[in-house]
């Protein structure tokens, strides 16, 4: 299945240089399986579900995911077998378009970075698909959900596997679309639909920046500007003929033939990552020099490109100021939150910066900007997370905050650290989200932590995994989060080449470290707060829950589809571990849709859903139903707990990928793995090793402090301090709780003018344009009437007049024919006389 076609200029693994490329022919299968699964479920899924039940749908989806994961593992194995500098698998399918300097191929490439991403996406994605089997069991649009999930995975794989900007952008947009579809999965609820739209529109803002940066880079690889008489405003664009030699090409082969090559590297404007990397990295091409000195109206090109591309990352990865969609995205189902908004889509920005590390590494201002935004976002989001009550919102803000950390990592130049944090975060955040999903399920769709508590008795597995993930995020050294986070913070502290807007800012690293450590403390605090509020103390949710504002879809789902779900679940059987008394009749065949071994527990889960659906469907009588089963939480079925356990285990195991150099005097495994793919040569200050140990200790201390305060304030809900503090600082508390009114600010400054403009245009269209059109129509109509009148009166009149005239004339002429001979005689005589007359006349 592979052609080992090596066009190598061999270098040692640690040195940068042209990468060797292995052409393989199976990479396209990795995104293929999910899209085929999505297509099957999209087109005939509803029918299959109706005929065979839901199990066929999830089997198609999960099989697609597992096949993709298997293929990824195969690629991984192949990659492991290659020497480090040759770990680049390329699979170009065909040329999509060639237009002058622009060549876009349908090509997939896997290097170490994207391999890591692909494994995360397909692996964690498969686990989340399995989770969804149980979680979405009572959803009638089951097929649609799995179709969208597969679609998302497809788009994400395109994003990470695409070997050029266009493919990445295609995937970039695709994940935005899939995110929209999934957030607004229950689109009949206007709030959820609005959340989906918000996500998409905010992403769009970011995409604009991304495109601008991309096009600027593409342009910048060509010629340059030459100031005309030294004024910045008078610039002449000077194409360097050899760089733009491919402008005349119309096929890929032509482009390849015309492209100038230096040291074997194709130079000139390119969209392909590897080509770009080779151009920049191989000093002999002079591209790096050129880019470094190129300015756009006085602004360094690279800084502009870096900042614009980062705007895309801001949108996709929810950084300031474009983070506002992520908390609202919790309106989607919990598996969606876990997969998209924790593990994969939001990390696309980080991936992009890491992929373009060689560009960012060239410009300290871009890096400083990225790092600073990341840090500010981290602390900003963490602060909001302090006071939220909805468990999913807490996790959402936590995600935003952790993404900030990742950007700190890639911003200061520790690209592998940022990628490592991406990996660890994927594991522990997925655990947290799925754990919260399990909790929500167990508490019968309760999301408010104030109504939870004491769940560790009822949901032990969930509790353990959640706790493990909290340890990870807080940064305790026995879980993976510590390693990635501390690596980032250490690198931030020791970075010394950051700049902002062209001015070197050596103090920025220290500042970022400070912000980061405070954020870490806060992170630990609010995560343990959520843990203690949820799992310790007494259970505070005594009633069945009918939530108007819920971001968890199930209750609203039930409201939306109460009839069907009631019909489905009312017939659910008494297979209920807790032995709740139910007046339900015979077991439901609907729950036979679960996989056979999971039947008991799964039907339990579905039945749990059925409870709530039934409850919610009963409108105001919900409380009666709550009293009906006593509202005791229960553990989730095995499909859920198994996934949780696996993810928690993964969180633990991945710590071994990042054991710091200071401990082992060797590069951490992941760093070693990723190094050939990422830029090097970023200067970090050399500090004595005790300093590093000390800072690691400070990190653990920060986590401990946060945990301590959380425990004191929230464990068992014994303390009254939170309530009294909230009263004392009610103003500040409200501001933070209301997310600093950022959404309101946006609504006033951006949305209102936009809506106003839209309305103005609509009015313009309605009155003026429509008026013009109607006027034209009226003119046409009146012309028509005029014509009709002409036709009726003039034309028909003429014809009729003519006919009438003929008739009248004939009638009068008929009078001659009297039938009497004498008349004829007169006529004859008259004629004879006339003849006589004429005879004389003519003489």
């Amino acid at each position: 299945m592979e052609n080992a076609h090596i066009e190598a200029v061999g270098h040692a693994a640690e040195t940068i240089g042209r990468l060797a490329v292995h052409h393989v022919s199976y990479l396209w299968l990795i995104p293929l399986f999910p899209i085929v699964g999505a297509a099957i479920n999209a087109t005939i899924g509803w029918k299959l579900q109706r005929i065979f039940g839901k199990k066929i749908v999830h089997r198609i989806a999960v099989t697609a995911m597992l096949l993709a994961f298997g293929t990824a593992l195969f690629a991984f194995a192949q990659m492991l077998a290659l020497p480090a500098e040759e770990r680049f698998l390329q699979n170009t399918l065909w040329n999509l378009l060639t237009a002058g300097r622009l060549t876009v191929d349908l090509g997939f490439s896997l290097d170490q970075l994207s391999m890591m991403m692909v494994l995360v996406i397909t692996g964690i994605g498969s686990l989340i698909h399995v989770f969804s089997i149980g979680y979405m069991a009572d959803e009638p649009a089951y097929w649609r959900f799995f179709s969208y999930l597969n679609l998302f995975v497809f788009a994400m794989l395109l994003l990470v596997m695409g070997d050029n900007f266009a493919m990445m952008f295609f995937g970039w947009e695709g994940v935005g679309l899939a995110s929209y579809l999934l957030i607004a999965f229950w689109y009949t609820d206007p709030e959820k639909a609005a959340a989906g739209m918000k996500a998409f529109v905010v992403n769009r803002f970011g995409d604009f920046g991304f495109l601008a940066g991309l096009l600027l880079l593409f342009w910048g690889l060509g010629g340059g500007w030459q100031p005309r008489d030294q004024g910045l405003r008078n610039l002449d664009y000077l194409p360097k003929a050899e760089l733009n030699a491919t402008a005349a090409a119309s096929t890929a082969a032509q482009a390849d033939a015309l492209a100038p090559r230096i040291e074997g590297v194709k130079v000139g404007p390119t969209m392909n990552f590897r080509e770009l990397r080779d151009q920049v990295v191989v000093e002999g091409t002079g591209v790096k020099e050129g880019l470094l000195h190129k300015t756009v109206w006085g602004i360094p090109l690279l800084m502009l490109v870096g900042m614009l591309l980062f705007i895309g990352a801001m949108g996709k990865s929810a950084q300031l100021p474009l983070y506002v969609w992520l908390p609202d995205a919790m309106a989607g189902p919990t598996p969606v939150s876990a997969l998209i908004h924790a593990a994969t889509m939001v990390t696309a920005g980080v991936y992009m910066v890491a992929r373009l590390s060689f560009i960012y590494a060239l410009d300290p201002s871009a890096m400083g900007w990225v790092a600073l935004i990341g840090a500010l976002t981290a602390i900003f989001a963490a602060s909001i997370g302090f006071f939220q009550y909805d468990i999913k919102k807490v996790l959402a803000y936590s995600t935003v905050s952790q993404l900030g950390f990742m950007f700190i990592g890639v911003g200061v130049g520790a690209y592998w650290a940022g990628a490592y944090h991406l990996l660890t975060h994927a594991f522990f955040k997925a655990t947290l989200f799925l754990g919260s999903g399990s909790v929500i399920l167990g508490c019968h769709h309760e999301q408010d932590m104030r109504k939870m508590g004491g769940l560790k008795k009822h949901m032990p597995i969930t509790r353990i995994t959640y706790l493990a993930a909290c340890w990870a995020i807080a940064g305790f050294p026995w879980m993976n989060g510590f390693y990635s986070k501390d690596e980032i913070l250490w690198k931030a502290f020791t970075s010394e080449h950051l700049a902002l807007f062209g001015h070197p800012t050596p103090w920025l690293g220290g500042l970022i470290y400070l912000i980061g450590i405070v954020t870490a403390t806060g992170t630990s605090f609010y995560m343990f707060r959520s843990y203690y509020m949820t799992f310790t103390g007494a259970y505070r949710g005594g009633e069945g829950h009918h939530d108007e504002h819920n971001e968890d879809p199930h209750a609203a789902t039930a409201t939306a589809m109460s009839a069907t779900s009631v019909a489905v679940h009312a017939s659910d059987g008494a297979v209920h571990a807790d032995g709740h008394a139910h007046g339900h009749p015979a077991p439901a065949p609907a729950h036979g849709s679960h996989a056979a071994p999971a039947h008991a527990a799964a039907s339990h889960a579905g039945h749990g859903h059925g409870h709530d659906d039934h409850a919610a469907a009963q409108d105001d009588g919900a409380h009666a139903h709550g009293g009906h089963h006593g509202g005791t939480p229960h553990e989730s079925p095995w499909t859920i707990t198994l996934v949780l356990s696996l993810l928690a285990l993964g969180s633990f195991l991945t710590l071994f990928l990042g054991i710091p150099t200071a401990w082992t005097h060797r590069a951490p495994l992941l760093e070693h793995w990723l190094a050939p793919a990422l830029a090097e040569g970023i200067a970090f200050a050399e500090k004595p090793p005790w300093m590093e140990f000390a800072f690691q200790g400070i990190g653990v201390l920060a986590g401990t402090v946060g945990w301590f305060f959380a425990m004191v304030l929230y464990k068992d809900a014994r303390s009254t301090v939170p309530a009294s503090l909230k009263e004392r600082f009610a103003g500040i508390w409200t501001v933070v709780y209301d997310k600093y009114y950022v959404d309101e600010l946006y609504a006033a400054t951006v949305l209102k003018p936009a809506v106003w403009v839209a309305r103005a245009f609509s009015r313009f269209d309605g009155t003026i344009l429509d008026g013009l059109v109607n006027f034209a129509g009226a003119v046409g109509r009146s012309l028509g009437r005029f014509d009709a009148a002409i036709d009726r009166y003039l034309v028909d009149g003429a014809v009729n007049a003519f006919a009438a005239g003929t008739l009248g004339f004939g009638r009068s002429l008929r009078g001659i024919q009297t039938g009497r001979i004498q008349t004829y005689l007169y006529g004859a005589l008259g004629g004879a006389l006339v003849v006589v007359l004429l005879n004389f006349l003519i003489q």
Partner: protein, 101 residues
């Protein structure tokens, strides 16, 4: 002295009066009378010319033939008139306009 002209005048007058009779009479028999007058006018002319212009008897013979044929025509015409009378119960020529329009 009576010359040809006098006879021709008589003939012309007879003819004209016969014409007027044919044109103006309402009674069908009256119309036939007019026809007879016309024929007689013609006959007078014939005979006058025969006497004053051509010798011999050709004019007279012609006049004889005219008389014969006038008689025949009168017979048939009157038979037709009688037939019309039987059909229409009137011989007013105003009502014999079935061929009109």
């Amino acid at each position: 002295m009576v010359t040809l002209t006098h006879f021709l005048v008589v003939g012309a007058l007879l003819f004209t009066l016969g014409l007027v009779t044919v044109a103006t009479r309402r009674n069908a028999v009256g119309v036939l009378m007019g026809v007879e007058l016309i024929l007689n006018g013609a006959n007078v002319n014939f005979v006058a010319f025969n006497h004053y212009v051509t010798g011999g008897v050709s004019g007279q013979v012609f006049a004889l033939f005219v008389i014969v044929l006038a008689a025949a025509e009168a017979a048939v015409g009157l038979a037709i008139v009688l037939s019309i009378f039987q059909t229409f119960k009137t011989i007013d020529v105003r009502f014999a306009d079935l061929m009109r329009e």
